[in-house]
Symmetry: C2
Subunit: 537 residues, 2 copies
């Protein structure tokens, strides 16, 4: 199969629609309006307030320059750059104004008369256009008649997909560890997650095949799943990223077992290079141009989706701001039409204030500017990841090894043990001889916001099987009391009963705090974890 | 029962929760964050981008003065005022600037660092505060521990209520004619509307009792409904408004049969006085102050809701702009908590751009300013209603009568017949002797955006029962071709099979078009309808 060859049409996937989605009717009012809408027609149809009654004559924004952040991974330059940005140094951000007037000067201008009025659930035409061109250039879908459709963020996106594809009592495939809100939205409706074991590329294709081939409807209480929810890049919570080959392997299985893939990909543009210790880090100029950088990224599932069985979820939450509550689906037109109908009876179009400001930002920056902005963000997150792991390097003894088995086979693993602490003869001696007990291990992520620490509970004095849940929450509370808030791994389990008995996890986010806070929290972590593994009883 | 006496607590209504709503879990991450959030704590928990990466340094708006529109119903002053506002006359709107900076100058200032970040589904604290005070002052809920909670508009609000209260296969009560999107969102999920006949006050309490008392579970295929969806003010599509006494009568029945009332009330502030013909219209100064005007309005169900069984839906779509995609629930705390959970897994918080701009507008105007703005809007819609009916007066012979039976008993009814047309001897003669056939009738609405025309198909030449659906669409198409778009009544039927055989309906919205367009469309209406009733075959 040549994955990237454009197909004229997606295969018929309408049989995947849920009962609810199938039962939805198109809106007769909107159909009529479409059919009869023409210049000069007096509309007394819609319950629309006249724009004279919108109390905003215009809205504006001061927007940053798309090159506000360096694309270099040179830490020195970078840390200076993000320090002054974070903590209001003397340098001032370079901004320029954008304005959205109530009435457009030219017909195609973004304006409040349209943006603040009722409209279709497809959103502002100028945004549709920008998004469609962006998808074509960046993700390069494998078939011709894909559709991009706005939503109000990927949580809304996934919620609509559940309504689109799943009936109550049906199961869906996901990673063993996953985004809790994805489950909080599905489980109450009787749409049940089935976790597939992961490795450093995310979901394992061999394990996926096993789950599907060995599916026992009677034992499981549900027919074999036909929907998959996956976060393939910078996965939440594990931080792992799936490359092209793994995606092809999983896609082929989904073709074989007729599974629709919902690709929730908020961290796509936060892809980084591999982590190297500070001493070994080569000053590195990054990609000279955003276009080169974009082509270096792991591709989306839609690039190999020759059958139109992928619904990609994009959000502006990580690239503009979470409060945007704006994102988009990329999928086949059959699904897109149904997703639009679901939107009409829930959120309708996304907020017009946000849509118009973001669209004006994007069309002002243009594609090249937005690509440059994204490249700058990726460099920032790279620097953040490096800084956090560097901080751990300062406070722990980090031993580097290559995994020989299990989910981290062939990965470069960092295993932390205690550094000698003054006045503690035991730890001094252990550290001196490199005999420190492994406390936790991690594989540095190459995308996203998260570091996923595995704790070696079996090294906690007096540990016995059955303690791990208690230990995770015990250590978590001690850390919170000492001043560092992380998230217990258990909250991300797609099936809590199947959580490994010996490993505990914390998810650590390096997306928000300052470098100084990283250093301080690494210090607190070393004190609290060290004590916990030494004295816990 | 003393309805307005404050109760210490709502009765326990948790048994009304749907299976889905009951199964929802609270978010452990957010609980932890609430429990441990404190100054100085380093959070590495949330997957939040640092605000340094938000590309907006600030956003702003030019806002209208709250007294932009006259509160007088004097048509002359008014029509001048809305003409220049609508069509950009030489007078300029009076505006003042508001700005939302990224970082607040004072801790309580609205700012982008909070508004554009992830937050709880309860939205901006400053908005919560404004809304809560507004509800307390304006709607005066009958019990103490009511809660106001943001949503993204009343369509989202009703969609969440369906998820909160209804299981698939259950029925809910509504008006015979209702908002189509309310049904488009419920029917596909197997949540089925049961229409109750209406009169000029909306839903009839005697007919409601009849439906409930005579409910036959086996025949209906569903147990007796325990949810009601109602639009009590300026109802969509009929334009009718329910007064306090009818609300009390319906509320008492809902207590008796344990029904939760979802009060969708987008037109609440578009309440007007009664229509009088232009010649009989007294120049009228309106209420001197917004506070006096507010107390003159028909009360909300929450004012008599001593048991906490009302979920009120408010939206800013008609009072700020539809693109706001912002509104709020007012309901008991048990329902509010569940509605917040549903929000967390769908829309999350409303868009931060819209929330912050609207909150800044409201807190700049303050309560008194917003009340004044609303009073001005109500006067505008009064003037619009008057202008549209005046335009009909010019083109039709309107006979005034008082209803003696049926849904318009005791109402002042306007019945239109053709005016003499030049060169048409028949019509000249008929008009001369006042013998024009009734074409359509209406009761002028006292709230909202809509005029609901009933057509007398039995006066169409060659009419026979069974034709009415055809006639409605036939006339509708002729009108659209002639240049006027209205909405066929059939689209609003809660049960299409029970639509009356002799009456056809059009919903006409007077909210959007200009006075000139009203005159032109009345002329087109008279030509097309006149021809249709004269020559249709």
């Amino acid at each position: 199969m040549e994955y990237t060859e454009k197909q004229p049409k997606a295969i018929d996937l309408a049989h995947h629609l849920s009962d609810v989605s199938r039962a939805r009717e198109t809106s007769p009012l909107k159909d009529l309006a479409r059919q009869f809408g023409r210049p000069g027609l007096i509309s007394l149809a819609g319950g629309m307030p006249n724009e004279a009654y919108f109390p905003f004559a215009s809205i504006s924004g001061d927007i940053l320059h798309p090159a506000s952040f360096s694309t270099s991974n040179d830490d020195n330059e970078e840390s200076i750059s993000w320090f002054w940005k974070l903590f209001g140094g003397s340098r001032k951000e370079k901004t320029s104004p954008i304005t959205i007037p109530k009435h457009p000067a030219k017909p195609d201008d973004i304006n409040l008369t349209v943006a603040l009025q009722y409209g279709t659930a497809t959103g502002l035409p100028q945004l549709q256009k920008f998004i469609s061109e962006f998808v074509e250039k960046v993700y390069q879908p494998a078939y011709a008649d894909w559709t991009a459709l706005v939503q109000t963020g990927n949580t809304d996106g996934w919620s609509r997909c559940l309504s689109l594809l799943c009936n109550p009592g049906e199961a869906f495939i996901t990673e063993d560890w996953t985004y809790p809100s994805a489950l909080a939205g599905s489980v109450p409706s009787g749409k049940l997650p089935v976790g597939v074991p992961m490795d450093d590329q995310g979901m394992r294709h061999d394990e996926l095949r096993k789950v599907l081939e060995e599916w026992d409807e009677a034992a499981r209480g549900a027919k074999r799943p036909h929907v998959m929810y996956t976060v393939p890049i910078g996965q939440n919570p594990t931080g792992v990223t799936m490359g092209l080959e793994r995606k092809k392997a999983i896609y082929d299985i989904c073709v074989e077992f007729d599974i629709i893939i919902v690709e929730d990909d908020p961290y796509y543009f936060l892809q980084m290079g591999k982590y190297a210790a500070q001493s070994a880090r080569a000053p590195h100029a990054g990609f000279a141009d955003p276009a080169g950088w974009l082509t270096s990224l792991a591709p989306s599932y839609v690039k190999i989706d020759y059958q139109g069985r992928v619904i990609r979820l994009d959000t502006f939450s990580k690239t503009i701001a979470p409060g945007s509550r704006l994102g988009f689906f990329t999928c086949n037109p059959v699904f897109a039409e149904r997703l639009e109908r679901i939107g009409e009876t829930s959120t309708q179009a996304p907020c017009g204030f946000g849509q118009s400001l973001i669209t004006q930002l994007l069309t002002t920056w243009q594609f090249d500017g937005y690509a440059r902005w994204l490249q700058g963000l990726a460099a920032q997150y790279t620097s953040r990841r490096n800084s956090f792991i560097d901080a751990l390097q300062s406070e722990f003894h980090l031993r580097v090894s290559v995994g020989t088995a299990g989910s981290w086979k062939d990965c470069v693993i960092y295993t932390a043990s205690a550094k000698a602490r003054r006045g503690d003869a035991m730890s001094e001696k252990a550290a001196l001889f490199g005999q420190g007990k492994p406390l936790f291990s991690f594989v540095p992520p190459s995308a996203g916001m998260f570091l996923w620490l595995k704790f070696h509970w079996d090294n906690v004095p007096g540990f016995k099987e059955g303690d791990e849940d208690t230990l995770e929450m015990k250590l978590w509370k001690k850390l919170a009391k000492a001043g560092v808030l992380v998230v217990p791994g258990r909250f991300f389990a797609s099936d809590e009963d199947e959580v490994s008995p010996v490993e505990g996890h914390f998810r650590i986010s390096f997306s928000y705090a300052s470098n100084e806070a990283f250093k301080k929290s690494a210090k607190i972590l070393s004190e609290v974890v060290g004590d916990f593994f030494h004295h816990q009883s």
